[in-house]
């Protein structure tokens, strides 16, 4: 029995990566859920909106690095974030003017808006690759670790090491700040309340004098902020490649639907459910059990439920289970 070592192994390989990944998914799912709740369609272009926002952040970061601007030990990308958000806001408002507004005017069925967003997705896809290319891009700088494995081992004398990356710390802190600010905005401000009213009952909201175009504009601004932050955090923590952002669409949608589409609290819970399932189900528990069980019971096999190749299958399976047994998600959202 060696509970401490077991805990450290579990934290190093499951808890910390899953918390960081869950925060990134939650921020992405919040954007999807806001659009679904207020504009009433599933925005397939969300992954590529993240890729676009992150791309702008990367370009500004490179420019700042070339000028020698830095906020070491923090990554320069945080400084570039506002610029990325501004450009992304412009892009989203532009696509709304060009594409979505027309379909809103003619009161098109949601599925038509979904298809329109699919078109926007492909255009953004090409645009991002056209500007920054399809390859991996590096833009992280500053200090890499909060806690290093060797230092941890030396300080605690434990057999197992623990590493916490700066990017993981920033991800969690930023996610908390963004979520608190978003909920304050939605629950306490007049604009936020008018948005929720619009989401609950569009006709009633219109009757009480809420300007729908203003609500729409604010939704897109919020989505741009969330998408750019989520994308930049993911890029800092892992790596930036346009295609992986497109692939993020599945776990993010899974998170939004599992939590309950249109419900912001649900999006956050969903993000963590998906992240923890993906990491925990594909993690081999051999070492953890080796520390917890008496020596003669220690497992010989890896004690791994699924090979890591099946990570994406996990979010698919959870999505299907939720749709089958609880179509409105964990928190009461709209059924799909």
């Amino acid at each position: 029995m060696d509970v401490l070592n077991a805990l450290v192994v579990l934290a190093n390989y499951v808890l910390i990566p899953a918390i960081a990944y869950g925060s990134q998914l939650a921020l992405g799912a919040l954007g999807i859920t806001l659009i679904y709740g207020i504009l009433r369609f599933s925005n397939f272009a969300h992954g590529d909106t993240m890729a676009f926002g992150t791309m702008v952040v990367i370009l500004v970061t490179w420019w700042m690095q070339s000028l020698g601007i830095s906020i070491s030990p923090l990554p320069t990308a945080l400084l570039a974030l506002p610029f990325g958000i501004l450009v992304t806001v412009g892009l989203l408002l532009g696509t709304d003017r060009l594409v979505y507004r027309f379909y809103r005017r003619v009161k098109a069925a949601p599925i038509i808006l979904v298809m329109a967003s699919l078109g926007v997705m492909f255009i953004l896809n090409g645009l991002v690759r056209f500007i920054i290319g399809p390859n991996d891009q590096k833009f992280a700088d500053g200090v890499r670790f909060i806690i290093k494995v060797r230092e941890f081992k030396a300080a605690t004398g434990l057999q197992e090491g623990l590493a916490i990356k700066v990017s993981q710390g920033i991800t969690v802190v930023t996610a908390i700040i963004v979520v608190v600010a978003l909920f304050w905005f939605l629950n306490r401000t007049r604009t936020g309340k008018s948005m929720r009213a619009f989401s609950d009952n569009e006709d009633l909201a219109l009757l009480s004098g809420i300007n729908p175009e203003r609500v729409v504009t604010i939704v897109w601004i919020l989505v741009a902020i969330l998408a750019t932050i989520a994308g930049t955090l993911y890029g800092l923590d892992k790596s930036y490649k346009p295609f992986t952002y497109f692939q993020l669409l599945l776990p993010m949608f899974a998170a939004a639907i599992v939590g309950g589409l249109g419900n912001p609290l649900g999006a956050i819970a969903g993000g963590f459910v998906i992240a923890f399932s993906e990491v925990a189900i594909t993690y081999p528990f051999k070492k953890v059990l080796g520390y917890l069980l008496p020596a003669d019971l220690a497992p010989n096999s890896l004690v791994q439920l699924l090979s890591t190749d099946y990570k994406f299958a996990v979010s698919f399976s959870i999505l299907i289970l939720v749709l089958l047994f609880r179509p409105t998600g964990i928190f009461k959202g709209q059924s799909v």
């Binding site: 390989y13 890499r144 060797r150 590493a163 490649k241 081999p284 528990f285 890591t308």
Partner: protein, 394 residues
């Protein structure tokens, strides 16, 4: 059978005639497809040898050798078979340099070369499966099988006293073949492979894969991947989580990018890649520079050697018919005899004509073993102070 008879009959005709002829050698490489950036130098290497022989005027009483290029596409077997078929039936080549990738090479061998009795020498197919393929003595390669690299890897690790490793490989024929070959050799030598797991290229995050590798444990992590792809992602995640501190890198991982990515973080790691310290590599480079291509490009030396072996075997057999010279290829490639380096093909042809014996070393230290494949020379490396340093050649 009929065609073999025909070819033999034709060969008898030619041999008895002893007249100079126009010999054609097919060069079937993937001029389009995944390795299209490598093939121009490979083809140039093969054609350099042909030009050297033609200029010497000593092959079969002054015969000339011309190259006929064809596209193997590297991945599309049916296109490669059609191209090879065309080389034999319409261009009437006397030998084939190629193909390049293991998959299409096997397809051409079984569907075209064997039915037509055509000799083919591949400069770059490394799949262990080709060692045991039925070939009627027609197939050779100047590239070593990855089974050999697996053995070399095992030897290096054993010599360093590493008895237990985790293995991860890029999920394709190269990675899987190499990882399996290594596991077999290492376990035969008494080592323990704790896990042999695939990774997909092009993902953003490899912490889950590394989690599995770390849970299995091992003294060192063997990364049979690509440095520009997932291999580097695995190493990064393993270093970040402290799962492994030293690694072993096969050829796909060794490049400038590796030390650019990790520097001294991977000090103490080992690896190996094809390479030779023989003087042949240097003279090949000089010849290639004069001809205006990169003689050190991947598999360019092997291509030169493949073409040279075909022509030397023709001279040794006194015939350009595949059925006659196929049995001579091993003779000219191996000892005993005068050692022959690039640029000395004319000299070699003279020796053979006078009934002497040659031991073709060429640009890649050719030594054909077993079923006619290169024994393979590897450069063992170690990472020291963030630099790749050569330990020795084996």
């Amino acid at each position: 059978m009929k065609k073999i008879l025909l070819a033999t009959a034709a060969a008898v005709l030619f041999a008895s005639g002893a007249l100079s002829e126009e010999i054609k050698i097919g060069v079937i490489l993937g001029f389009t497809g995944p390795i299209e950036s490598l093939t121009p130098d490979m083809a140039a290497g093969a054609e350099l040898a042909m030009k050297e022989v033609t200029d010497s005027g000593k092959l079969l009483d002054g015969s000339t050798v011309t190259s006929i290029r064809a596209d193997s596409t590297c991945i599309d077997s049916s296109a490669a078979i059609a191209a090879a078929e065309r080389l034999i039936t319409s261009d009437k080549v006397n030998g084939i340099v190629g193909a390049d990738c293991s998959g299409v090479t096997g397809a051409i061998l079984q569907n075209v070369a064997r039915p037509n009795g055509m000799v083919m020498i591949s400069p770059s197919a490394t799949s262990p499966a080709l060692s045991t393929a039925e070939d009627d003595g027609l197939f050779f390669r100047t590239a070593p099988s990855d089974a050999r690299q697996g053995q070399v890897m095992s030897d290096i690790l054993m010599e360093q006293g590493i008895k237990s490793v985790a293995v991860t490989y890029t999920n394709n024929d190269y990675g899987k073949g190499l990882a399996d070959a290594f596991q077999a050799a290492y376990e035969a030598a008494g080592g323990k492979v704790t896990i042999n797991a695939a990774h997909e290229d092009g993902k953003a995050d490899y912490s889950a894969e590394v989690g599995a590798l770390a849970a299995a444990g091992g003294d060192r992590l063997v990364v049979a991947g690509y440095v520009d792809q997932g291999g580097s992602g695995i190493v990064r995640a393993a270093l970040d989580t402290g799962a492994f501190e030293t690694f072993h890198f096969p050829d796909g991982m060794i490049g400038d990018q590796l030390v650019a990515n990790f520097g001294s973080e991977i000090d103490g790691s080992s690896g190996e890649l094809p390479g030779t310290d023989s003087p042949g590599a240097a003279s090949m480079k000089t010849l290639a520079d004069a001809a205006g291509f990169n003689g050190t490009g991947a598999f360019a030396p092997e291509s030169y050697d493949a073409a040279a072996l075909i022509m030397l075997a023709m001279e040794a057999a006194g015939s350009s018919a595949p059925a006659d010279y196929k049995s001579k290829i091993m003779d000219v490639a191996n000892a005993p005899g005068v050692k022959i380096y690039p640029g000395e093909l004319g000299k070699a042809l003279g020796i053979l004509k006078d009934g002497g014996d040659v031991d073709y070393v060429g640009a890649s230290s050719v030594e054909l073993i077993g079923p006619g494949e290169s024994a393979g020379n590897y450069r063992q490396i170690e990472i020291k102070d963030g630099k790749i340093e050569t330990v020795k050649f084996r």
